[in-house]
Structure formats: structure tokens, C-alpha cells
Amino acid sequence: MTLTPWEWTKLIGFYALVVIIVVISIFPFYYAILTSFKSGTAIFEINYFPVDFSVQNYITVMTGRNFIRSVINSVFISGVTVLLALFLAVTASYALSRVRFRGRSLLLITILGVSMFPQIAVLAGLFELIRFLGIYNTPWAMVLSYTIFTLPFTVWVLTTFMRDLPIEIEEAAIIDGATPWNIITKVFMPLLWPALVTTGLLAFIGAWNEFLFALTFTISETQRTVPVAIALLSGASEQEIPWGPIMAASVIVTVPLVILVLIFQRKIVAGLTAGGVKG
């Protein structure tokens, strides 16, 4: 196959564009990984390829006082948030998509509207609420606030999905004697599973990476989540920012997410498109 000059230009242009996009989106992560393996003063030299390899930063982080504890906190908080949000969202979206009641669309719009408020706007109110509930400086403070912020998105997506499920299937189940709870757990949940994985994973990522609430609602070091712990990592003196350990910690907490996404990748794609066209 011979290509004309113009076709060559198009081909090269296309791949050049691909390379630019990949470099721009990957570079920050690449640089974090690169930095995490450097040691000592090598960190302050700028180079774009590995020049030396040391796991010292990782050892420093893992043996640090409360880092493991922070990871456990994050796993617990994100996990509970996902479970709670999915439970509430599935039941709520069943009602919103299937039960006829007055003010249903108003409610849906309100739910969507709530998700548009910036976090900082509700921070003070939420703080009062958490103090009132007596869960300040406990994981439940984060679980509550993350669930509040995740739910609108989760409910909205699941409602869209549930609306697309054929109503006859639900009616067949009603005639078979299914209660609403049976319908949700035995008929809808298995069918919604791609959507559940998608929204669950996004909720997990959101909770895992959240910083502002986690910083505000915790005081003691043992209650911190990973993003806060990383941000507050301190070096030998106040003047030193420990870039090496910070980068190592970032890599450690990002890898599980990447693995999760890779595992569920196919489901996510299926989930994101499944509502679009009839299958």
C-alpha cells in the first residue's frame, strides 16, 4: 500500500495528536511515580527518565506513624459510603421511576439542584449538623457528608436506568406475587448491576479522594483519611516538604483505584451506555 503525501500528513498528524493527548494526561502521574522512586537530593533535579531507583520513600511512608491507619479509615469510609448510597439510591430511584406521586419531577429536579452547590457553601451547615449528631472526628462524619454529596448523582443515574427497564417485567413480577422489596432485590438489582457498579465505583472514587470535608471534620491524626494524611505529611523540619514520601503515598493510594477501574472497566462502559439505547 502506498500513501500519497497528503495521506502521510494526515496519518502523522493523527498520531501526533494522540501522542500529545496521552502525554498531557499521563505526565502528572508519570512524574509522581518517577519522583516517588528518587531519593535524597535527586528529587530536586529535573529529569524525565528514571535515573536512580530507590524504595526508601515507600518504606518511610509505610512505617510512618499513622499512614496505614489512614488507609484503613479511607477504605472503611469509602466502602460504607458506597453501600449506604447504593442502598438509598436504589430504593429512592425505584420510587422516583415507578411510583406515581405528586411532585415527583419537582423532587428529581431538587435532587439534581442540590448536587450543584459547591462543597464550601454547605460546609458550615454540615459542620453544625455533625456537631449536633455528635459524630465530629469519627468516620461517620465523612460517611454522612459523602453520602449526601454522592446521592444526587447516584439517584439520578439509577432513576434513568430504572425508567428504561420494561414495565411489563415489573408487572409480571407483581402478578407472580412479588412485593416492591422483592422486585427491587430479585428482579431490578440483577438487571441494574452494570449501573450499580458504575455509580458505586464513581461514588467510591469521590469518597476516596475527597479532601475538604475530611480535613474539616477530623481533628486527631488517627481519624484522618488518606488525602488529608498525605497533605499533612511533615518532614524533619517545618521548612522541609517531604516530596518523596508524598509522591510515594499518592502512588500507593492511587494504585487500588486503578486496579478497581481496570477490573470493572467493561462493566463501566456497559453501564454508561446501557441506558442510551434499547438492548
Binding site: E168, I169, A173, I174, I175, D176, G177, A178
Partner: protein, 334 residues
């Protein structure tokens, strides 16, 4: 097994009244077909009987027991949906067993009932498959099987054949007719917009129009003695010929109806004369379209499958005993 009585039943969705006062008796073990044009309320009627929709006013009884507020699963009904409505994530066995599992029946009992139903419908070899691995006809059988397993008093069919192709439709129609004979004492209610399905399956047909019952009767009653122009025009294929104006005046009525097989060709003293504008050969019969100056060409069944060339002048004469005369309200003059 159940006698269903509807007394002055109405159904409204918000401001819109869909069923406008229906009185109907469905006998035990009867095959009743609801038929009518789209939007006439026939599917709504079925859903009222199933309990998926509640009735707005009136009373409905199953074997004398008022069921207005009884939930669907307690009415002893089973329903076959147009779109099959199988549970996509369950195999055929579990689809059929779902209702019994919810009712907490014993495993052996479930197995026995499901296998018996599968045998009846010849789908035993499909029990492990998922719905997406089945053809349309097989899915419909599974849907019917799921209904049989429930061992219902009343079987409800909501246009079960409209998603099937023509050949399969006829075959499945036969299956349903056989099923009715085998399950002799089960009342069956069947909704369709296809009058051929209605004529071939029904013990009695209920013709609905705009939320009212137009006429209830056996297929031959409806065909031979329609109570209104609407029923006369709806039942039978090709459609009954209707003549108005001076054609009707000659017979002392507002509208004169005559079916295509009740018109004879005759060259001496014809009642109507016209020109052949079209012929339709459907295999078993030839239908000749004759323009006699009325609103629409007159459709005449040609005896012995004889065709007729375009533009030929013919004389026609209706068979007097088969004339349907209607007054200005659309009711028959008898």
C-alpha cells in the same frame, strides 16, 4: 374455573375516563376475547381484571367474591404479556418457578409443576437457557408456561401474538386453542386488535369501542347479526360493504351493509351496475372491486376463483336474506 362479573365498571386516569361503565359476565371456563381498535380500552379492561390497575367505580367479582381491592397475586390470575416480560437474568426454569418460589412452595412441588408445564409446551430441553438465547416463539411459550405453573383460575393474554411473524402467529394461535381445550375449566381472557384472532379463538367476543361494550356474542352472532355499524364493519375480512344515500334509500334504511360473499353477479335485472376497477387474488378467493358510484368500490367475492378483467361492465345483485339495514343511529333494522 372462575366466573367473572363486572358491574358498571369505570376507570379514569386523572380527568380522562377510559372505561365508561361496563357490565359484563364472563362464564366459567369460557374463552372470551376483547377486541377493538387501538385506544378502545381493551387492554385497560384486561389490566383491571388482572388487578394491575384498580377500578375507579363499580364492582368486580370472581366467583361471587368482590375483588375490587384484592392484589393481583391473590386473585388467582396469570398473565401473558405482549412483550413476553420474561426475567432476563433468570433461566427458563427460574422464570417459571419465580412465582412459586415467592410463595415459598416446596422445591419438589415447584420442580414437578415446572416440569409438567414444560412438557405440555414442549420446552423441556430449554429449561437451562436464558431468555436471550431463545427465539420469539420459544419465549412466548415460556411466558405461557410461567402462567400455567401458577395454576390460575383465570388466564389473561395481552396481545400475545403481535410480536411473532405470520407463520408462527398461526401456529401459536393453535397452541393457545389447544391449551384451552386441555385446561377445559380455566377461564381465559384474550385481548387482540386482530379480528381474525378473535374469530378463530373465542367462545365469545366482546367488541369494545371508546370505553363502551359495543356487543358481546359468539363469533357467528357477531358476524351474522351485528348490533351496530361499528361491529359490522369491524368483524369480517374483507370489510363489509356499506352503501349510503340513494343506494340505501332503495332499501328503506340509512346505511345498507352487505358482505362480499353475499353479492352475486347477474346479467339480467341487476340491482347495481358498475365497472371492475381492481381484483385481489388472495389464493383461496378472488375479490373483485366494482365501482358502482357509491363512496367506495363494492367488494365482491367471485365464486370459483374466477378473475375479471379491468374495466369490464358487470351487473350485481345482493342476496336479500343477508342484507344488513341500519338506521341513522347506526343500529340494525330487523
Amino acid at each position: 374455573m372462575a366466573e367473572i362479573i363486572l358491574k358498571n365498571v369505570t376507570k379514569s386516569f386523572g380527568q380522562i375516563e377510559v372505561i365508561k361503565g361496563v357490565d359484563l359476565l364472563i362464564k366459567k371456563g369460557e374463552f372470551m376475547v376483547f377486541v377493538g381498535p387501538s385506544g378502545c380500552g381493551k387492554s385497560t379492561m384486561l389490566r383491571l381484571i388482572s388487578g394491575l390497575e384498580g377500578i375507579t367505580t363499580g364492582e368486580m367479582t370472581f366467583d361471587g367474591e368482590v375483588v375490587n381491592n384484592v392484589i393481583p397475586s391473590k386473585r388467582g390470575i396469570a398473565m401473558v404479556f405482549q412483550s413476553y416480560a420474561l426475567y432476563p437474568h433468570m433461566n427458563v426454569y427460574n422464570n417459571m418457578a419465580f412465582g412459586m418460589k415467592l410463595a415459598k412452595s416446596g422445591t419438589d412441588d415447584i420442580k414437578q409443576r415446572v416440569e409438567a408445564a414444560a412438557k405440555l409446551l414442549q420446552i423441556e430441553h430449554l429449561l437451562d437457557r436464558l431468555p436471550k438465547q431463545l427465539s420469539g416463539g420459544q419465549r412466548q411459550r415460556v411466558a405461557i408456561g410461567r402462567a400455567i405453573v401458577r395454576d390460575p383460575r383465570v388466564f389473561l393474554f395481552d396481545e400475545p401474538l403481535s410480536n411473532l411473524d405470520a407463520a408462527l402467529r398461526v401456529a401459536t394461535r393453535l397452541e393457545i386453542a389447544k391449551l384451552h381445550h386441555n385446561m377445559g375449566d380455566v377461564t381465559m381472557i384474550y385481548v387482540t386488535h386482530d379480528q381474525v384472532e378473535a374469530m378463530t379463538l373465542a367462545d365469545r367476543i366482546c367488541v369494545l369501542r371508546d370505553g363502551y361494550v359495543e356487543q358481546v356474542g359468539t363469533p357467528s352472532e357477531l358476524y351474522e347479526k351485528p348490533d351496530s355499524i361499528f361491529v359490522a364493519g369491524f368483524i369480517g375480512s374483507p370489510k363489509m360493504n356499506f352503501l349510503e344515500g340513494e343506494f340505501a334509500d332503495a332499501f328503506d334504511c340509512t346505511t345498507l351493509g352487505i358482505r362480499s360473499e353475499h353479492i352475486d353477479f347477474c346479467d339480467e335485472n341487476p340491482v347495481w351496475e358498475g365497472e371492475v376497477v381492481h381484483t385481489e387474488d388472495v389464493g383461496s378467493d378472488n375479490y373483485i372491486f366494482v365501482e358502482i358510484g357509491s363512496n367506495e368500490p363494492l367488494i365482491v367475492r367471485s365464486p370459483g376463483r374466477k378473475g375479471s378483467e379491468y374495466g369490464r361492465k358487470v351487473g350485481l345483485k345482493p342476496q336479500d336474506q343477508h342484507l344488513h339495514r341500519f338506521n341513522h343511529e347506526g343500529h340494525p333494522i330487523r
